[in-house]
């Protein structure tokens, strides 16, 4: 540490949540700005984009820079922070004309379905119109400024981060309201004459000056907290005067310069806004898949090769390495990193693990020597076998502490390779993936809420196609081994992202496209090779098992459940643990969901509707898996507590589930309520699990 100045400059108070929010806002605006630029070129000039980004940078500087780290030590730093929040960031934001770009940047469905009713709600429009008219806007701004500078409220903000955050939010949003009548951003014509802003700004300057005078000349310390600790030569009173000067001089400049520009504008009669009609450019083209997806088959082989090498390393270390989970690749890589990374991939893109599946690389190599001759028995062409294997995994994972045994993990992976090769050597198509692989079924179900899907770009092209290469294959590539006919494929269910159809399509009409996550859960349309969800009891069982299994799996690691298990174990005897764990899994992940389904279907009076409503629980189940797996990974990656993130993920899952159930129930409260109750009960149990001490896995204790 060289000097106090260097130390001060290095004091950035980076809060990842704020940074993520600012980045997300920037992405949405940029997306909307680019879309708008294609439609209305001259209304989306680069200056507006620059103004928006500058406002975000100012917000970042105000809340994350050393100003924030020093705001409890120096009133002058705190005042500068407030100036940025009230006087710099809001006008920059409004100069960027943010409303239309932000709306264009958000997903269309969200704007239409979620925001639309509010944006067109007359009372809200009237209220907002009134709020941003000069007198109310000035009053809100003045009240926010004066009240928050009263010693009682200011001290409250200094003593509590929550109140401090509220204070900053009030300053920023009252700043936005204040600057609205001055800048009058679109859409729509300006409501007030430009000259009106001149007295408005002058009044604001008078208020600012009066407040500044209090700080500069009061002669006593207004906020005692600043008197306790002093750093450097500046006394608390001098610091207060400096804060007053900061407010007075730069503050006045911010108010008076625009007023001066407006006066000059009135004198020169210069028109500040262009009135020429914007040039409209029409752009409609089918959604394009990302550029890299053209090389995706090659990419797939490379990814498979990498995962195969990793699998070999895990097997080798599992058999030969040190039998301590935290120090062995077999203890850490599959159970901690791979599970979390594949979940992140599912939430960010789609079923990338199946795309890069190493088992399939070995199977494809084996098929060069053995051609399968049989078809999978008809009785097994469903998900019952894989659901049974998932239940077996949930039990074995806890009963034999698979995560803690590199040796067993190595055997498990070796067995997986052997079974995949064996089954696909005898049976045609991707039998193992479609009917057996428990990992695949998990990925299929979770990818129902993924944001990307292998889908057709233009349906009309498919209607003209008579070769059906996507399913039949051609000389370039085999067709879909899971028997998914692209034009009738309505979700990621059963799709391994193998990209065979992408390669086979002679019209380049299949790609990895963006979709609304979870939208396919709402529909009961016929799906190629799957049929209707409402007719598939096996799929319903699989989904219930994965949803309830998520909670059972996490619950098995928390202290109260483990203590209960050990208590029963002590009473029953030495070899009872697998049976106790088995009982827990059977009750929690099998009997409880069956009972729940039965009960809800009594209320629904329609078994097919009840089956469809089971799929509404998928987002909640996914969020529980995600929150749980990310907890273990984050514990290893960052060593930081992530309870808040777990709560947020689970809440998002609950809201998503409630929305899906509401839509499937077609807004019928009686149909919706039983499933909403189930979702809320699962959510409550998830929160309870998160707040219990959880066994840390894959770490040295």
């Amino acid at each position: 540490m060289e000097s106090a100045a260097t130390a001060a400059f290095e004091s950035w108070a980076i809060d990842a949540r704020v940074v993520a929010l600012l980045l997300l806002t920037a992405v949405v605006y940029l997306r909307g700005w680019l879309r708008g630029r294609r439609l209305l070129r001259d209304q989306h000039d680069a200056l507006r984009l620059a103004a928006f980004m500058a406002s975000l940078i100012v917000l970042f500087l105000a809340t994350e820079s050393p100003l924030d780290a020093f705001d409890t030590l120096f009133l002058s730093a705190h005042m500068t922070q407030h100036l940025l929040l009230m006087m710099i960031a809001p006008p920059l934001l409004l100069l960027s004309n943010p409303l239309l770009p932000m709306l264009r940047g958000l997903p269309k469905g969200f704007v239409k379905e979620c925001l639309g009713p509010f944006l067109t709600w007359k009372p809200l429009k009237l209220f907002f119109g009134w709020l941003v008219s000069p007198i109310p806007a000035f009053v809100v701004f003045a009240l926010s400024t004066v009240l928050w500078h009263l010693p009682v409220l200011y001290e409250l903000a200094l003593s509590s981060p929550a109140w401090h955050g509220l204070q900053h939010a009030c300053f920023f949003w009252s700043g936005v309201i204040f600057w609205w009548p001055v800048i009058q951003p679109g859409p729509g014509k300006p409501r007030w004459p430009k000259w009106m802003a001149i007295p408005y700004l002058l009044f604001a300057d008078i208020l600012n000056t009066l407040l500044s005078v209090v700080f500069v000349f009061s002669g006593h310390l207004l906020y005692p907290s600043y008197g306790i600790v002093r750093a450097g030569n500046l006394s608390a009173l001098e610091d207060q005067s400096l804060a007053g000067l900061m407010m007075w001089i730069p503050g006045s400049v911010v108010y008076l310069v625009p007023a001066f520009i407006l006066v000059m504008g009135l004198f020169t009669s210069a028109r500040m806004e262009t009135t020429t009609a914007p040039e409209r450019v029409r752009r409609t083209k089918p959604q394009a898949s990302p550029a890299w997806s053209r090389h995706a088959p090659l990419f797939r082989r490379a990814a498979q090769a990498v995962l195969l090498l990793l699998a070999i390393a895990v097997i080798f270390d599992g058999f030969r390495g040190q039998q301590v989970a935290a120090l062995n690749l077999a203890g850490v890589l599959p159970w901690i990193h791979w599970r979390a990374l594949s979940m992140l991939a599912l939430l960010a893109v789609g079923n990338l693990f199946c795309l890069a599946c190493p088992f399939m690389l070995v199977r494809d190599a084996a098929r060069k020597f053995i051609s399968p001759k049989f078809r999978w028995p008809h009785a097994l062409r469903n998900k019952w076998l894989s659901a049974g294997l998932i239940a077996l995994y949930l039990w074995a994972y806890e009963a034999f502490s698979l995560w803690d045994s590199p040796w067993l993990t190595a055997w498990l992976i070796t067995g997986y390779f052997a079974v995949a090769v064996l089954i696909d050597s005898f049976f045609r198509g991707a039998t193992f993936c479609k009917y057996v692989c428990p990992i695949g079924q998990y990925h299929f179900v979770v990818s129902l809420v993924s944001p990307r899907e292998i889908a057709v770009k233009d349906k009309a092209t498919c209607q003209r196609c008579h070769t059906y290469d996507c399913i039949r294959g051609n000389e370039k590539s085999r067709g879909c081994e899971l028997y998914l006919f692209q034009p009738k494929k309505a979700s990621n269910l059963d799709c391994t992202f193998c990209l065979d159809c992408v390669k086979a399509c002679p019209h380049d009409n299949v790609g990895l496209l963006a979709v609304t996550p979870g939208k396919t859960l709402l529909s009961d349309a016929y799906r190629s090779s799957i049929g209707r969800l409402s007719k598939r009891t096996d799929l319903v069982a699989l989904v219930l098992l994965l949803v309830f299994g998520a909670f059972v799996n996490a619950a098995g690691m928390v202290s109260p459940v483990m203590m209960w298990e050990h208590g029963v174990h002590a009473r029953l005897g030495v070899h009872a643990m697998p049976f106790i764990v088995g009982g827990f899994v059977v009750i929690g992940a099998m009997l409880l969901p069956i009972a729940t389904f039965r009960l809800c279907s009594v209320f629904n009076r329609n078994i097919e509707l009840a089956r469809r409503l089971v799929f509404s629980l998928v987002p909640l189940g996914v969020s529980m898996w995600a929150a749980h797996l990310l907890f273990h990974a984050a514990s290893v990656w960052t060593m930081a507590p992530v309870a808040w993130l777990q709560v947020v993920i689970l809440e998002a899952g609950l809201l998503f589930t409630l929305y899906t159930a509401w839509r499937i129930a077609k807004s019928s409260t009686m149909i919706f309520l039983p499933w909403a109750s189930v979702a809320c009960a699962l959510f409550a149990s998830g929160i309870w699990i998160f707040f219990q001490p959880m066994q840390m896995r894959g770490m040295m204790h």
Partner: protein, 171 residues
Amino acid sequence: MKLKAISALLLVASFAQADGGKVQFQRQAGVFNITLFSTPATVRAGRTDFSVMVQNTADKSSVLDADVRFHFTQRSANSIASVSAPARHDQATNKLLYAAQVDLNATGKWRVEISVQTKRDSALVTGDVDVEPPEPPLLAHWPYFVALPIVALLFALNQLLKRRRRAVNRR
């Protein structure tokens, strides 16, 4: 896509340090003026961020090259609990401070010794910190739960407005 990835990573890696906060006590020892801060303001059983500002008494300038250590002890009728931790600049947001995250697992009064050592001088100050019982987790994370009823309310309003609009259109 890159931005999305960065945001996701940042979300996962969120561990903003939060030093400064409430002044627990201020002591003068030799040539040093030592101030102990805690975040959150009310110290509760569990992990707390403690930070120390070390200043020269003469000119109030910050001392940045000291070796600072915390030693917390709590005596009860039967036992003595103690926790030691080095306080460092790299654990602090405000780099004028020395910070450490300390796990005080019992409620009641804890005695804290702060030792400060530079090449030329050293000092030791002591003081008391009251540790309250931990907040129930639901209360500790209340801001994250507030979102749920708000979203539910907004959704109900959204559905009401849609229904009303449909009725108007039908008429």
